[in-house]
């Protein structure tokens, strides 16, 4: 009995000690644990793990607790964990989520210039290409993060497919009409999935729709009123629907792969001939399907108005949880990461838009760097609204209505616009 009591007491004591240790990220001897969450992208994870090892070797008192969260759960898990105080010290989040939720809700700490080795925020801003920090800047003008990846939008074409169809892969596809013409030649040559959008989840639907919307000059909402029924937004939707199944059809959307865990699967496997891509997607295909990658070429995104070219940019930023007790250490680690932009370029094609990045030796190694550079020059961030997740669902339903269910474009847009108004006013 005495032994049992002793064991029970020991078990209780060790449990209590473990609980206490778990509550504290900073040990009495100056040891610090900084938690850091990112989404999943294998080449990126490899770079992070390597840099974390390097950082921990150089700072033996610091442990980086690195966790990756599946992409489709990332925002939900991050938001709920931040709300109950169990979130990480450093988050790596895209600009839509930062501008839509995290910054307006006051969940993030402004950048700490001292920990970043600068005397003011202006000095931090001056490191980066103008405009590229807009995705992490609040309405108050404060900067809340540094970019870990800055993505432009371009078009990948399969050169072998083009040659099969008797097309010149070096001839520019300046307009969407050029793409339709090439697509129909590809279909005639047996490449039936000539061009397709990705139908994965609402985030993908809305980002591709906004790519077209930037070119038509439309918007999702105007204040708290939906604007998806504006002529510009309807034009963007019409282009999507026509490319998918109308007069300009260049692929069967029902035959497009819908596996959200593996975007660009059809392009990577050589099933699809043309796709809208980002720098990281090309790196991903190079790793998973090197044979197809050898046939791919990145060209500028086709335009609706060549006189006023426009494309979409988006970015992920490193930001620090406002509730973190390790803010200074967190920003120091972010500073370390930002000093290794060439490792990200070389390891995962992530562009960190530091002034002069394009001239760096690592950038020069990236295939089609000039095309990417031009894409950044014409890029715009997406419009983000409050309750953006719901708005993205409304956009998804609108596209599904028009593309898959054959609902007239104007009707689908009007229904979605009403839904957006209800979301923003509700």
């Amino acid at each position: 009995m005495t032994t049992q009591r002793t064991l029970a007491a020991l078990a209780t004591a060790s449990l209590a000690a473990a609980a206490l240790a778990g509550c504290s990220a900073s040990g009495g001897d100056g040891d610090v644990t900084v938690s850091f969450w990112t989404h999943t992208h294998p080449p990126m994870i490899e770079v992070y793990e390597q840099l974390i090892d390097e950082y921990e070797d150089a700072n033996p008192n610091v442990t980086i607790d690195y966790q990756t969260i599946p992409n489709n759960e990332f925002n939900t898990k991050m938001l709920t964990s931040l709300s109950n105080g169990s979130g990480p010290d450093i988050i790596n989040m895209d600009d839509s989520a930062l501008r839509g939720d995290y910054i307006p809700k006051g969940l993030l700490a402004p950048v700490d210039p001292a920990a970043l080795g600068e005397s003011s925020t202006d000095d931090v801003v001056a490191r980066y290409v103008e405009g590229t920090l807009a995705g992490a800047t609040g309405d108050d003008g404060e900067l809340y993060g540094l970019p870990s990846e800055f993505n432009g939008t371009a078009l990948a074409i399969n050169v072998a497919h083009f040659e099969d169809a008797g097309l010149d892969p070096d001839a520019p596809l300046e307009t969407w009409d050029d793409l339709v013409e090439a697509g129909q030649a590809l279909i005639d040559a047996g490449h039936t999935q000539a061009f397709s959008f990705l139908y994965l989840h609402s985030g993908w639907y809305s980002q591709q729709f906004q790519t077209l919307l930037h070119q038509t000059g439309g918007s999702i909402a105007d204040g708290d009123e939906g604007a998806l029924d504006s002529p510009e937004a309807v034009e963007a939707l019409r282009w999507w629907a026509d490319l998918a199944g109308g007069d300009k059809s260049v692929a069967d959307p029902n035959a497009t792969s819908r596996e959200a865990t593996v975007p660009f699967q059809d392009l990577a496997t050589g099933t699809q001939s043309m796709a809208i891509v980002y720098p990281w997607s090309m790196d991903q295909i190079a790793e998973t399907n090197p044979d197809t990658y050898a046939d791919l070429k990145v060209v500028p995104l086709p335009q609706l108005d060549t006189a006023s070219p426009s494309s979409r940019v988006y970015a992920y930023y490193w930001a620090v949880n406002k509730a973190s007790k390790q803010q200074e250490e967190s920003w120091k680690f972010v500073q370390f990461l930002s000093e290794h932009s060439e490792d990200f370029l070389a390891g995962t094609d992530f562009v960190q838009p530091l002034v002069g990045w394009q001239e760096s030796s690592a950038a020069q190694e990236i295939p089609f760097i000039d095309t990417w550079g031009a894409a950044y020059a014409t890029g715009k961030f997406d419009q983000v609204t409050p309750h953006y997740a719901e708005v993205q669902d409304a956009i998804t339903e609108m596209v599904n209505d028009a593309v898959f269910d054959g609902v007239p474009v104007e009707d689908a847009a009007a229904t979605a616009s009403e839904a957006v108004t209800r979301i923003l006013q509700g």
Partner: protein, 298 residues
């Protein structure tokens, strides 16, 4: 006349028995305390919280703000909520009425004792042993435009990418998955019916249909009632197949998926709680109606 000594002994014995029973009851209660505490903490307490939260606007990251019945008022005119409610009813009825009927017919067929029947039963039970997520992934392949279903039925239907067919695709898959569950219950019910009852009816000249309709079915009524209540609960609580196969697109968003998205994607916890309250009231009402119908039949 009872002797005093006997009375005294009997009374003492009764009181000792009562004390012993009380001790046993207390011990039993104490053994139940941990489970009860967990139930109160993780089921009742959050349930009560949901009622309270339904009267607030709460976005997870800012303090809750009291809004009275605004969440309920919004839901009463929200097309997305009303559509989800309709879709839930469609799914529950479309799946579970055929599944119950099929399970009853199969149970009748599989209750005969012939060689190989055990293996046949196993085949019907297999889908039940698989998780909804695994089943949904398998059926994604089956329902592909070039998948097994179209090939077998010689159809050209985009099952999962059309509002005209996606809800039916989910119903077909769910009937396949759920029939085995009710089959087990009906088989258990059939095995409890004494064979003499059927024997007597057969001697009296009753045919197979008459025996089923006038004897088997009435005797199975308690099992049928349990199955009906469970069918409604399972139908109204569906979430995984819709989440995995369509993410609620093409008119397949059911109430639980709507609640999940409202709470965790849109961070509107108050509104999601209001839906949960409405569903609780609805399910409670349906269960009470069913119980009352059952009591009347009994």
């Amino acid at each position: 006349m009872v002797s005093p000594s006997f009375t005294t002994r009997s009374s003492g014995s009764r009181s000792r028995g009562a004390a012993s029973r009380a001790r046993r009851s207390l011990a039993g209660f104490l053994f139940a305390v941990p489970a009860l505490a967990l139930f109160l903490l993780f089921a009742i307490y959050p349930g009560v919280q949901v009622f309270g939260l339904s009267l607030f606007d709460y976005s997870l990251t800012s303090p809750p703000e009291f809004v009275g019945f605004d969440n309920f008022a919004f839901l009463s005119s929200d097309p997305r909520f009303l559509e989800a409610l309709g879709q839930t009813a469609f799914y529950a009825i479309g799946t579970y009425v055929p599944a119950l009927a099929l399970a009853l017919v199969l149970a009748q067929a599989l209750s005969t004792r012939i060689r190989g029947m055990g293996f046949a039963r196993l085949l019907y039970f297999l889908p039940l042993a698989m998780s909804w997520v695994a089943v949904s992934i398998i059926w994604r392949v089956v329902l592909h435009p070039e998948g097994l279903l179209n090939e077998v039925l010689q159809l050209d239907v985009n099952w999962l990418t059309s509002s005209a067919s996606a809800r039916f695709a989910l119903v077909i898959m769910s009937i396949w998955k759920e029939t085995g569950f009710f089959l087990i219950l009906f088989l258990a019910g059939l095995s409890a019916i004494p064979p003499e009852v059927h024997e007597a009816a057969r001697i009296d000249g009753a045919g197979a249909w008459r025996r089923f309709w006038s004897m088997t079915f009435p005797l199975l009524r308690p099992v049928t009632a349990v199955c009906a209540i469970m069918a409604i609960l399972r139908g109204m609580q569906s979430f995984s197949p819709q989440a995995v196969l369509t993410d609620g697109a093409f008119g397949t968003e059911v109430i639980n998926l709507f609640v999940y998205k409202t709470a965790f994607e849109s961070a509107r916890m108050g509104r999601a709680s209001a839906v949960a309250v409405l569903m609780f009231v609805l399910l409670l009402g349906l269960a009470l109606v069913q119980l009352r119908a059952l009591r009347r039949k009994d």
